[in-house]
Symmetry: C2
Subunit: 204 residues, 2 copies
């Protein structure tokens, strides 16, 4: 199984190559930037899998991915990064990458991940995708009080102020106050907007 690893960090590139070569089943080629990688692909034919560092010279975000994919033809291209977020990983997949590997990944998982991707299976570490519930919660939720969260919950169910008031055993005017505060804190222009922002942020 022939791989191409492209990374501008010498240490990362060499250790990855050494580790994978050591498995016996992989034959690893190296490149240190995107143009170098594309040249390699074009001269030495498509690889079973190409691994590109997300932050290496020539990549320019996801643009470099398209170039490498063009050179690879039908064969898969994956990205790796030490810093990228879930959003980037998802965008990479949407842009046609066969997978996305954080550099923090356990070495033994790496072997299987590479094998997976060379086989045509998409791969992203799932804890990477599932983590989306925790991150964005705080920046917004921290600023909301308990009552406000309760009212927000009502908003997101499309309830009228009067209904929320009944549910929380309060006066309608009070709900209006909370809604106003919520709109201010969430920078929403009205209740609908506030509900959408909350939904978008994964608060509800």
């Amino acid at each position: 199984m022939r791989l191409l690893i492209a990374d501008d960090h010498d240490l990362v590139r060499e250790t990855l190559a050494a580790f994978l070569s050591n498995e016996g089943q992989f034959e690893v080629d190296l490149a240190e930037d995107l143009p170098g990688a594309c040249d390699k692909i074009r001269t030495d034919g498509p690889y079973d899998l190409v691994l590109l560092d997300y932050g290496m010279p020539g990549m320019n975000g996801l643009e470099g991915l398209a170039e490498a994919r063009a050179a690879q033809g039908e064969k898969p291209v994956a990205l790796m990064s030490g810093t990228a977020t879930r959003e980037v990983a998802q965008s990479a997949i949407d842009a046609g990458a066969i997978g996305f590997m954080p550099k923090t990944m356990a070495a033994k998982s790496l072997i299987n991940a590479v094998r997976f991707m060379a086989m045509g299976e998409t791969y992203i570490p799932l804890d990477f995708l599932n983590a989306k519930d925790e991150g964005p919660v705080s920046p917004l939720a921290e600023r909301l009080t308990g009552r406000e969260m309760e009212v927000l919950s009502g908003l997101c169910r499309g309830l009228a102020n009067k209904e929320i008031a009944r549910e929380l055993d309060l006066q309608e005017v009070t709900i209006k106050l909370h809604v106003k505060t919520l709109c201010r804190k969430l920078e929403a222009k009205n209740r609908t907007h506030a509900a959408m922002i909350a939904k978008e942020a994964g608060l509800m």
Copy 2:
């Protein structure tokens, strides 16, 4: 590597076992329902991985998963199913399953998936997760006209009728009409509710 496969369909169970045993690296035990599987786990010690059929006798949805997990201790338990939806798969992961395998999965991917999960890595086929954007679109979106979708888009951005009217170069009353229609079609009680339903369904 020791596996336990529990499935009430003889054919599935036997072929899976044969295929995995053939790889040489797996030692496969079998069970044909949940109680049988749990007994096996308790008597023959925890396995490196337990595969449970989602629809087998004794499972009762995700309840059986908890039971098997209790017997397995720290070791991983995965579900498999031929019919289950993304939602079920996600719930399974949330309930502590190490992975979820559709029975439609390519056999060669299966080997790696099993190895992955035995290793403690979560696994779900990604096309399974990403498909969520397409499925739920039609049932709702089909019933909405082009104009209605445009108005709905405004709703989801928290715009007032007047603003939507300006954007689409229409009269405000017309927007009110569309909003009313939208609420009826989406079975929403008001604009906020309609926006949330649209968001929930992935329409926006």
